[in-house]
Symmetry: D2
Subunit: 350 residues, 4 copies
Amino acid sequence: MRLFRNDYSEGAAPQILEALARTNHEQCVGYTEGDPHCERARELIRAACGRDDVDVEFCIGGTSANIVGVTGMLRDWEGVICTKDAHINVHETGAIAACGRTVLATQDADGFLSPEAAELMYMNQTMTGRHMTLPKMIYITNATEFGGVWDRTRFDAICDWAHGRELKVYVDGARMAAALTSAGNDLTLQHLAARADAFYLGGTKNGMLFGEAMVIADPELKKSFPYLVKERGGLMAKGRLLGVQFEAAFEQPADGGEALYWRLARGANTCALQLRDGLNALGFESYLPANTNQQFFVVEPAVAERFAAAVGCETFAQLPDGRRVIRFVTSWATKTEDVDEFLAFAATVA
Amino acid sequence: MRLFRNDYSEGAAPQILEALARTNHEQCVGYTEGDPHCERARELIRAACGRDDVDVEFCIGGTSANIVGVTGMLRDWEGVICTKDAHINVHETGAIAACGRTVLATQDADGFLSPEAAELMYMNQTMTGRHMTLPKMIYITNATEFGGVWDRTRFDAICDWAHGRELKVYVDGARMAAALTSAGNDLTLQHLAARADAFYLGGTKNGMLFGEAMVIADPELKKSFPYLVKERGGLMAKGRLLGVQFEAAFEQPADGGEALYWRLARGANTCALQLRDGLNALGFESYLPANTNQQFFVVEPAVAERFAAAVGCETFAQLPDGRRVIRFVTSWATKTEDVDEFLAFAATVA
Amino acid sequence: MRLFRNDYSEGAAPQILEALARTNHEQCVGYTEGDPHCERARELIRAACGRDDVDVEFCIGGTSANIVGVTGMLRDWEGVICTKDAHINVHETGAIAACGRTVLATQDADGFLSPEAAELMYMNQTMTGRHMTLPKMIYITNATEFGGVWDRTRFDAICDWAHGRELKVYVDGARMAAALTSAGNDLTLQHLAARADAFYLGGTKNGMLFGEAMVIADPELKKSFPYLVKERGGLMAKGRLLGVQFEAAFEQPADGGEALYWRLARGANTCALQLRDGLNALGFESYLPANTNQQFFVVEPAVAERFAAAVGCETFAQLPDGRRVIRFVTSWATKTEDVDEFLAFAATVA
Amino acid sequence: MRLFRNDYSEGAAPQILEALARTNHEQCVGYTEGDPHCERARELIRAACGRDDVDVEFCIGGTSANIVGVTGMLRDWEGVICTKDAHINVHETGAIAACGRTVLATQDADGFLSPEAAELMYMNQTMTGRHMTLPKMIYITNATEFGGVWDRTRFDAICDWAHGRELKVYVDGARMAAALTSAGNDLTLQHLAARADAFYLGGTKNGMLFGEAMVIADPELKKSFPYLVKERGGLMAKGRLLGVQFEAAFEQPADGGEALYWRLARGANTCALQLRDGLNALGFESYLPANTNQQFFVVEPAVAERFAAAVGCETFAQLPDGRRVIRFVTSWATKTEDVDEFLAFAATVA
């Protein structure tokens, strides 16, 4: 049975791999510093964002992107507000602290940073002035750690709050494609690009071998990024690999259809909703509403283990009542037949 | 009216100042590296701790001590568990993160780190192995941020938990003298020294101009401390100043009485309990039980402001019901007449 | 005309690319944490090194490898001795300092760290004890920054010196394959693995898309590496990509021939010597003896510019007499016809 | 015999100690945050500098001052150019690297950073753009590590160079008083304050118990300093101690004479020249011209050891010919009789 463990279990979407093979023998300047593929990818991403004035830079992965994004936008004594489940707070081995900056985690529990919790943190952190880390940035994730999607109203509210307090807005977009193509989404890439100070468009979890594209409006980060990405070990010698992949993902298809980047995510989302609706129909309870390629369910431990053994789904949390929150993830490589096969199995578990 | 703002409002206890003046013209080797006063102070502190095998080193202040203590006991990717109100988590401008280590704050709200909360943090932080900061140390404070005192049972329980998980125990002793001389205290310096991997005996808040003495049992910190204290800017050229002060504080008086270090703290505590009992008698509600030189009360905002204007007491927290937690602090310099005068004033506020 | 700018101008050797395509649809666990390709690559590399007791870990690039290797082997106040031209001293944007460690650069000018210069640095750096960065590691590069190769005698001498002073030996092997397959080389991988505390086998500059394999004997780095590589942003989600490439490079061919890793480097070296001998025959002067895929020549500025325009060779240094040191680099992708074509052009410049 | 080991062997000048005793019982707000002594000291120092628009902040010692000064003026990937003997390069245990910034040391050997060497470093460090640490600041010391004094022409030349390249100028003034009161000095505090972006006026080595006063014109450092000094552990709780000492040092005497700060340094310099001239007359060779309280001589090893045993002078360097460079230091506490006594002894060594 096909695994639903995560969206980086496979290699790359065939079109991406084909682009890498096609350009393999070209001789390019290194380090993303002006080769035609990086330049073309930058142009395509700027166009997709509807802004000419942003810098587009490339990272090898999400943690590397977050390190450069956060440390490039903060001075040594400044901090970034995020939710307690934020990737930078939990899953990156203290990478932000390793760069000397402080993560300020709120008690928001649903994956969305709320203006109320952010304001509370801000008030607490500025109570005694320079004796405390100064909040200067917020970190949010779209889709969230729990597969949720920021709608425009919610996104505008947190941007309004942050900018009103002179904090910068950074969006971790490891699964941005899944979010922006999800059912009911009303947040456009253009709107996001108009309001965020920086964000990245994830490639690793959307059909590339690796790679994230950082879109930078913030003047400080524009200046910092080129140096920081090298200093922090995140600059790839064969930078063209990033350009080639993002070029392939964002190039307009000849048939006038949607760019590959969005099509891959739509495919993953479709399978995810098929899985969700199927499991719901079988009586399995969703943990939080989610329209993207991560689906969370609340199950008994024994069920969690059977699913884990069968399709590699992971336990995300232990609830006070003993039940577990488990996660299923689909990807560009998931087929509806894979979901069908799993649901047939799930029916035997229900 | 004398202020009750904090215990570092004045200079030094007269006996300390006198010792500095008396030794002023001696020519000593610098940097605490073997001058007779530092050596004598080390000897006295080792004796007070009942251990010959600990290193005794000196710091210029609490944040500097915590920086060296925590970073010297942790590798880059390791973290320190403490309560959310811990000084290193709130009041040191991200100093631990600035050294690349991560603070892991529990939800304990009374100033005491509980084994339960520590265990929960430990379990969460080790769930996905190297993707998370590894807890390797606990940080506790005696007296706590809220003036509480660790009794022996509670202290042993957290030490047992920590050592059982192979975490080191570090005690911030900015107000250790106040704790160990407080009414009802059953924790001895010897017991503390027998179980903690490192701790410091605070001087700044107990009648010295400045200075903290770090007692180090941990082999790693023994090796790290001398280099780190210099590298982090905390090594004093005229190191003898630290030696002279701690020597004066710990030297046994000719009259067979208690060493100055303890006498100064007892004086501050006595005034603090006089103030507490007086305010309680006037109907003011204590926030948490506290027998040391910090006393917290829950009052209406208007009352908080009158007290602040009169004796400089600070607001520590805003309660959900709108009332405030305010803090009064006594020191070696406080006299019972000062408390009497304040209580007379407080009677007009009540 | 084919460029001789560097050895990361192209994508990957066809056999590497083919292996990536072949395994693309497999579902693997992430992060190099136990997928069959990483495990097999580890096994092959251990066998090639002749040691069962080393850890083999993977990095995304050389700077990332150096960051993890150096910071994992040093405490905060310790330093690494290297030559002034060392990559970590010059070309990595202060990456070692960014991790809080100090680079201690000697005046050695030929790319080889000498025991004499290292000893001088050691003596100077330990003159006033903890007031100075403590040297605890040496960093050398094989092949050197100038294309030189460490022979066994020279390598043993610096290892003897370092271990005699209790410094660890780290070898940057970005171009290790070129060194170990070069004409006249007498240093075996087994000998190197027996003496170095850690080193890496470069993939990026030897026909892979990216990737370096770190071989770790040092117990501290064994413990540090897994956490540090994640904390510093160098852990790849699709870790299998590293495994697949190194597996393809080190798997023994069915025909009993040499593994791909060595064959690719031999090809690059052959073209480099063809180019060197050809240029020497035309009267161009080599800067330093070099048998690997980097060849340096001393030329007049006008000549440097003509060569740069034609084949992208870079200026490495400006000599006091106004002449320039320029570098030609061959790779797995260079063909003898490419060199022929260039030499024909060079004849018109001579 | 009185030692000539260094200028921090004794406590404080009597006038300083007296001021501390006089103000000891005042209750002051902590952390240099507005107590009357810090405020008055700031006012006096601004007046001495002839600038109303600079910030004046206090540090506990030289390394702490340099940490805050350098890291506050540089972004993570930027570096500071200094001479190879600079204190930050040699004697501070890698403190700058510990804060993530890079020290770029020139080959200047006389303690003065030359525009030529600085330009060479700048050119080398900007050759490959973001692959290298970007120089953004120079660090110079007045008096230099070898007791030399920057004259106005030389100072203007390095400032012109630095500002022309958009580098900031930082002056370590651990012995600024000795420099500005030395025979032949033509650099005024006002001129220095007009051109440097930041510098500090040393107290530790000029008769205070401890303390340095940082004068800040640079807008970035004005913003950074308050947070960094706390984050790096350099903020003193009883901040008034710094204010009291600098107030006493800079307050205009009632008799219209020179402020104590300058008088103390003049005394030390006078004794130093007496010692220098006396030793020269006895045939001992000065190492470099020096008019300040540090005097260096080139002697045979046996002589070095006799002097060391007698008056604690330290060996600073070993010359290629086997002779040693030794250092004598005078302070505010040195009396001419002390020098007489030593010279009588030296006559027996000569």
